[in-house]
Amino acid sequence: MKDEFKVLTGNEACTLGALAAGMDFFAGYPITPATEIAEYASELLPKHGGKYMQMEDELASIAAVIGASFAGAKAMTATSGPGFSLMQENIGYGMLAEVPCVLVDVMRQGPCQGVATVPAQGDLMQARWGTHGDHPVIAVVPCSVEETYYETVRAFNMAEAYRTPVFVLSDAMLAHMSEKVRIPSAKELTIVNRKRPTCAKEEYKPYEDDGTGIPPMATFGDGYHWYVSGIIHDETGFPSTNSPEQISSQVKRLEDKITRNIKDIESYEEYCTEDAEIIIVSVGLVSRVAKGAVDAARDRGIKAGLFRPITLWPFPEQRLSELAAGAKTVMTCEMNEGQLLQIVRQFTKGKPVILVTQNDGTIIEAEIVLTAIKEVN
């Protein structure tokens, strides 16, 4: 059977990927450069019997998404930096209550209003630590329009598998550029649905570890009368703040849920890393410029290689450590003041880590990255 191809923008690919993953609820608020995701969702969702809501603000958007997920929906919202900031408290609720959902942040220049229409990567750390308290995060950063499609599908699958919000980080350029996307046939895609309880209704504990670290999640209306508080809670969902041991164990269970599944959550691309002396770490669209610079470096006999986390959080620290061990220098190529740098430094065992960045709303040219590679060579 012939493959189907479409020429899509990054935002269109995101919405189509979400629909392919089974999205049946979207709630959002218009914000440049993410708005087209909502527009396309508003057009396509009702065609499939799904629901689109335009909420009064971003806080309401993520709240409605989480609420819909409690009622069994596969739900998504999309925003950019300022909206992502507004959503953080409710994201925390999604994390603590362990509610599957997908949040797309199409990054733009910050801080504050910044520049709405230009790309940046200033939200990498916000994705990790935007909401208060300790919590693990799953965040993916596609580098192409096609990858946006497939990573959105994977984001939904991971949200369902691990009962957690998952972030997809795009940027203003990737969102609006057009590329060819191979559209998978329905049977080609693996779609994951959350585990649902099979026990008797009175026995159900919505946060009890069943051995996998991921408790089954009942859907409101199925007959399980369950409750969850945003206060630290025990396996019943009710507040359990009476002892330091209880508080600590609940927080640790959340961390553990992701840590013990890290091998399935991790995803990265390696390019010319086998003998690389200079490892460039880069994510998203700008990693393609870094890849071009690696090619140019290799043409000049410089052993450069690219390590591209696709799942940014949890960060692939073990693999980076291994690569760094065999390298002389590590570089990060990004579009901010060094957010990847901060994390990469922790796993490079004292090797020098150089920042190559252009944080002015334009995409860095490969020539500049190549110059930096030559300088450290």
Partner: protein, 275 residues
């Protein structure tokens, strides 16, 4: 006739009682009225979802034997909107306080009403932020003493029922903890109403607001509501001066001329599928 178990046994989580509220707190009276209303309306408890914000009143759904989520301050209506939209067959009830609903939650309140999405919003109005120790809220009366208005409150206050009506809510009523039976009836009507329903329940905080303003013990605070309450029909013929210090109770809005939101969205689905 077959006997059912007492509503307290059917709809409350007995193992979670007694409540964490202070002695004499009006929240328990409002919660009881709500539980009775759910029962009177004949709702299937499997399909009931109670969404709460943050505040003393918002602990109520933890005592109720239905699905419940205890969300973030001011955001209950937004969460509830998602629940209802995803499954319109669920009976969605919101429990919120005066501050939770009209201060931090004000935007979601007015937009929920604007949409006329089917849910019952129970506003436990005790005129202060109780959980944080008794600060003034958007419903604290002028000149009242609270933890953050020790010289007397100067912030003008909302009339929640007028706010609900102006925003488009299609059922709006108010009663007090003294008038527990009326409250139950209003909540039953609100639940049965297909649209955004608001029941403002005037209730008492004897520990904080009541104490700071020398309003007496719990029983006296209930009797204060009795003295202050004016039925809406009588209030319609009173002047603004005569209504000073009074609380108008009754049903203010009961409209059937606005379609409910999830119902209208079915039209969108139909049009989209045909296009």
């Amino acid at each position: 006739m077959a006997q059912k178990a007492h509503v307290f046994d059917r709809l409350l989580r007995q193992d979670k009682l007694k409540t964490m509220w202070c002695s004499g707190c009006g929240n328990g009276i409002v919660m009881q009225a709500l539980v009775r209303a759910i029962d009177k309306a004949g709702l299937d408890p499997d399909k009931v979802v109670v969404v709460a914000g943050i505040g003393c009143s918002c602990r109520a759904n933890g005592y109720m034997n239905v699905c419940g989520i205890h969300t973030n301050h001011g955001r209950a209506i937004a969460y509830a909107t998602g629940v209802k939209m995803a499954n319109p067959n669920l009976h969605v009830i919101v429990v919120t306080g005066d501050g939770d609903c009209t201060s931090i939650g004000g935007n979601h309140f007015i937009h929920g009403a604007r949409r006329n999405i089917d849910m019952t919003v129970v506003v436990f109005n005790n005129s202060n932020y109780g959980m944080t120790g008794g600060q003034f809220s958007p419903t604290t009366p002028y000149d009242a003493k609270t933890k953050t208005s020790i010289y007397g409150n100067i912030d003008p206050n909302f009339d929640i029922s007028i706010l609900a009506k102006a925003s488009g809510a299609t059922y709006v009523a108010r009663s007090t903890t003294y008038h527990a039976s009326m409250l139950t009836e209003q909540l039953t009507n609100a639940i049965n109403h297909n649209g955004f329903s608001v029941v403002e329940a005037m209730c008492d905080c004897p520990t904080l607001f009541g104490r700071f303003n020398k309003q007496g013990d719990a029983a006296e605070m209930l009797l204060n509501w009795k003295k202050a309450a004016v039925p809406v029909k009588k209030a319609d013929n009173m002047t603004e001066d005569e209504l000073q210090g009074k609380v108008v109770i009754g049903e203010f809005v009961n409209r059937s001329d606005r379609r409910e939101y999830t119902d209208i969205y079915e039209d969108v689905i139909k049009r989209a599928k045909e296009s």
